[in-house]
């Protein structure tokens, strides 16, 4: 008869009371990516809420987060005056999302949650719960190849909850089919990256576009000065 009800109890103790269902404000469905060139290429001029976006990339460090950060910042600006703005939920990121960089990009850290699941099952459960809960502005997940059925469920959940869902997946998934309505491929170049839209609603595939992805801000000194590597003491 022992029941694990830790949170039940703590909620009762804190006097948390169920609140009436609150309709989300009628925000625009689309969300600017922060990159005008990319916005132009995407249907509705940006990412779509209530949809999954799949980002294919080779290895961390190529700008996959820089591609998203302007949109996350935009979500934070939108939610700034809401009483209970939604979460930006990161499920099993491969490294530590570094708070100073997020803050610099304009992300409201109070809204960021990082989840570490114990298993693939938990990870999917978690993504599904979050996407459909209706209380997340964005859900970010990292999934390996395969997962076709799971992605379908997640897409359904995203529609239900209205959150912007971003799945980061290895470039090797390129040839696999996916229920995500929007798929992008990111490839590094000597500076910046090349972004190819593999799939979009209501449009043909487009040629790759080159984006600097904020490098111009990180490296203003890029062509003028080389550091002195031998600087000691």
């Amino acid at each position: 008869m022992a029941v694990e009800t830790g949170s039940l109890h703590s909620l009762l103790q804190k006097g948390v009371v169920w609140q009436a269902y609150r309709q989300p404000s009628d925000k625009a469905v689309s969300l600017s990516t922060g990159y005008p060139e990319l916005d132009q290429a995407l249907p509705g001029s940006g990412w779509q809420r209530g949809q999954l976006v799949e980002l294919l990339y080779r290895r961390e460090g190529g700008g996959e987060l820089r591609l998203l950060l302007p949109a996350l910042a935009q979500l934070c600006r939108e939610g700034a005056d809401e009483r209970e703005p939604g979460w930006l939920l990161w499920v099993d990121p491969p490294h530590i999302p570094y708070a100073p960089a997020l803050a610099e990009a304009g992300v409201d850290l109070a809204r960021v949650l990082v989840v570490r699941s114990n298993s693939r099952r938990d990870r999917l459960w978690c993504l599904e719960q979050a996407l459909k809960s209706g209380c997340c502005s964005a859900v970010l997940g990292w999934l390996p190849t395969g997962q076709e059925k799971a992605i379908r469920r997640l897409q359904v959940a995203a529609v239900e909850g209205g959150a912007a869902g971003f799945l980061f997946r290895p470039a090797g998934c390129r040839e696999q089919s996916s229920a995500a309505p929007c798929r992008l491929l990111l490839q590094n170049r000597a500076s910046g990256a090349e972004v190819t839209i593999l799939k979009r609603r209501g449009g043909w595939a487009l040629p790759a576009m080159h984006l600097l992805l904020g490098e111009e801000r990180i490296l203003p000194a890029i062509h003028q000065e080389r550091p002195e590597l031998r600087l000691v003491d």
Partner: protein
Amino acid sequence: MTASRASTGREPLWLYLHFPLLALECQLNLSGVAAPGAAALLDDAGRQLRLCNGDAVRAGVEQGMAPATAYSICPELQLLKPNPEQARYQLESLAFWAGNFSAQISLYPPDGLLLEIASMLHYFGGLESFRQRLEQQQLRLGYGACRATGHTPQAARLLARAGRQLCLADKHAHLQQLQELPVNQLELPARMAEQLNGMGLQRLAQLLQLPRESLSNRFGPHLLDHLDRLVGRTPDPQSPFLPPPQFVRLLEFSRELESSQALLFPLRPILESLQGYLRLRGLQAEQLQLLLVARDGEQQLLEICHAGGASEAGIWLELCRLRFEQLRLQQPVLAMQLLVEQFRELDAETVDLFSPPQGRERPAQLLSRLRVRLGEQAVQPLALYPDHRPEKGWTTQGTANLEVVAVPKGRPAWLLRQPERLAQAQLERQVELLKGPERISGGWWDGLPVRRDYYIGRWSDGRLGWLFRDDCGDWYLHGWYG
């Protein structure tokens, strides 16, 4: 037992329980150590010792000493900071317990209880057996108390606070005791007591001998009123303690309890409190909810029911014992909470958290649901932390309590959990350094000093990494500009 008011024919009789060390003992009892050794409670400013326990006094420590002096006399002295909330909570517990002895209790915060007992003597079979029962139970309480009877509430209170352990029934005997009380123990305003002492008036007897009008002329009507209530010349109505609608007691142990049977010992006084509580309210309990908390926050809820409702501590203790026998503790227990909210006359109301969510949740709900399934630690917030060392520049402690003045600029969005060593050859072949150095040194105070030069470098496949050279000249990758 039902509460019956003192009837008019009976001589009033009151009992006052004074717990002089309550504020100190409630913290020591929390620690659960049987013999805590010398301990003392600091005053609010932390400049003086406010209370000292027996061991401390024996070691030569005195109330009013500066902490430094006390340490020099007794180096092993345990100094505690006051926790008034805890003391208030304990006084309430003691009032519940006192419900076993009286139906009319008044709280005298921070450290006293007043019990009307004239109407109880019949029930207990006289004053002497009342005293014996009280003494027996008091021993188990873990709190040192001075108690005294009085024919008025103030008489009982002042005699108890003066340290007279009295158990008298007679009004005149009480009056005689009162006469001897020093003026500065009469709880007069400090200024007034000082004035009286300054006129050589040191005992109540001397005051009572003076002409009333002379006293009134000098000290105003308040003094006479106070004295009249004290000796019983005018009535002194008391405001009774009203118990809260549910019974909640939390008990934290200083060490982990490994066997379920070991839980019975600390449970006993709580059940005795419960018994007093139920008597005060004239109710019986139907269900006890016992929450056991392990170190990592893991919780276990036991529900123990009595179909017909019961109030006796003994009965509930037996039920708990039986329940514990079946129980295998998954982990050692650090704290225990008893909640009783189902009583005989009340309808229970419960909420099921596990019904599937309908429509939109509140953000807090999603958070708690994730935590229930994945564990408390699996879901973490993210915040800045003001420390120059990159690995210390963030925290999961929610809103950090330190102000971040400026967000460091140009940091990578990915930080590696551990810096990754880079071989010199790899560095030269694959990485082109683009920016730097940014020198970061500090952290000498907590054993994790750093001294590093940070650079931004481009890998040959176009990725941007954040790398540093430490003071040994070794290179490490610390983050990616993801």
